[in-house]
Amino acid sequence: MPYIQVTSLQKSFTLRKKRPHSFRRDKETVHALSDVSFSIDKGELVGYIGPNGAGKSTTVKILSGILTPDGGSATVNGRIPWLERKEHVRHIGVVFGQRTQLWWDVAPMDSYKLLRDIYRVPEEQWKKRLGELSEALALEDFIRTPLRQLSLGQRMRAELCGSLLHSPELLFLDEPTIGLDAVSKLKLREFLKEENARNKTTILLTTHDMDDIQELCSRVCVLGHGKLLFDGHLRDLLSRYDTLQFLNIRYASPALLPALPEGCAATHRDGAWQIAYDPQKIQTPTLIQLLQSAGTLSELSAEKQSIDHMIARMYEEMHL
């Protein structure tokens, strides 16, 4: 049996919308999850993506035992999260990128001591684990500084340490890199990879940062309108949409662009051209030759479509 098994999970919320110029309210039901099924094996690192409001957080909240679903079933290690809450949460860690779970006015160290008591972690084990984590996450500099005085990157590292102190088997990360600078992001990714490899921690990561997914996850699940739209390798997902390439050119002397074959689109900006084309239909050297026929090129560079563009196109095609 897989470690996480989710079968046709459903959850809807009732919203009350106020009508303009009236005291009456309209009820509206939003299906956050309409029929979601997937399974995850122990030790997997899975990316869970989808546009805002797709139901990512709802899934995480159900799987971590905060919310009770309306229908369907979910088990984590054979346990039903919302029915066996206490036993379940002992084995999981959760990090919400936009919300702190440590105590605001005290230093992380004090929070960690209280977490030790909450999770009933034996003193020796706690010390050993804290030592490992504070080294891996480089916490020494600020572990005794009140949380409210830390930078966002420091706080995220402190949060991560707090959620891993009780050595959970499963870690949920809800947008962990939101608002972090490049160095912090890279370090965080490095740490997550390490944690996944060394302790076989299963990680479910929701994010909007496609680089996170590319760097970390071998597998992605795409959620939209409360349904699972894709489940598989990131490469396979991208190959479906990875059809466009770009050439950026500039002519030495002002020249007119030659007539381009079908399927190419040109945009002009500050005297330079960007040509979007499908390399399956027209080969890059042929296109360059054609462009050179109109005049001497002073600049030429090629680029692939950014992963964000691809995802945007994918969302568009899936009508998200």
């Binding site: 957080s57 009770t68 002992r90 919400f96 605001w104 909450i118």
Partner: protein, 265 residues
């Protein structure tokens, strides 16, 4: 045992949090003392003017006032998480609590403490002692135990009443002020003995929110007086109504957690 240890450690840490802002703490405590002291002053003026309300004299009223003040502000101080539940939901702290392997009510109690209310409790103790001395109460062991039982019962009752508001918060996120009729309304009404009020109020605070049973009946026994035509031994039984109220609300609280909707991501 383990839970008590956790509670004490949480309290220690929360106190340290408060002391991060020492001036604000001092000023707030002072303002609380002045507020509750003002209330006591109003009661004393009333006593001075009327001397007698029903069968009660001023010294008796002072004793009732003391008991209510101590009990109510004990809840406001140590059960601050419950009595001020709406921020727990709004800030998402309830989500965090649901992610930890401990009882939710335990964690809510560990979530907040309001040491500023210690000032109010001190005023209550002063009123109780003054009243007790003026009434020349002969303190026996049963009477002392009854006082503790009564305060414990009242503590549970007030906690239960605050839990009504907490339950509504879980569904509507914002708190509903109407419930304050029982909590803050109960405090200001029932700092005077219940038999001075007309029927409907008497029923409301005896049957629905049994302040009279948890606080007034034992207080009357300690003062060697009679209230609500109950026999003396009843005073040892009626504070249990606080425990019953608490158990009922505890069940409701646990059940409504199942329907909790959480706030945004």
């Amino acid at each position: 045992m383990d839970t008590i240890k956790l509670y004490l450690r949480s309290m220690k840490m929360l106190m340290r949090c408060q002391m991060e802002y020492p001036r604000s703490f001092l000023l707030n405590t002072l303002s609380q003392i002045i507020m509750q002291g003002g209330e006591l002053f109003a009661v004393m003026l009333l006593i001075d003017r009327f001397q007698r309300i029903g069968q009660w004299q001023g010294k008796h009223i002072l004793f009732f006032f003391g008991m209510m003040t101590i009990t109510f502000y004990l809840v406001e101080c140590f059960g601050r998480g419950i009595s001020n539940f709406s921020p727990v939901v709004q800030s998402g702290a309830l989500d965090t609590m649901l992610l930890r392997p401990r009882g939710i009510l335990t964690q809510v109690c560990c979530y907040a403490v309001d040491p500023r209310r210690l000032g109010c409790i001190a005023i209550g103790i002063a009123a109780l002692c003054t009243g007790s001395r003026a009434c020349q109460i002969v303190w026996t062991l049963p009477k002392a135990l009854l006082l503790l039982e009564s305060i414990a019962g009242g503590f549970l009752l007030i906690t239960a009443l605050f839990m009504i508001e907490a339950v509504t918060c879980m569904h509507s996120v914002k708190s509903i002020e109407m419930v304050n009729v029982f909590t803050y309304g109960g405090r200001s009404t029932c700092q005077y003995p219940i038999d001075i009020y007309p029927g409907p109020l008497k029923i409301m605070f005896t049957v629905i929110a049994p302040f009279a049973l948890t606080l007034h009946v034992p207080a009357a026994y300690i003062l060697d007086m009679q209230i609500l035509n109950l026999p003396g031994w009843a005073a040892f039984v009626t504070p249990l109504s606080g425990l019953v109220s608490f158990l009922i609300m505890y069940t409701v609280f646990q059940r409504s957690l199942k329907h909790y909707r959480s706030t945004g991501s």
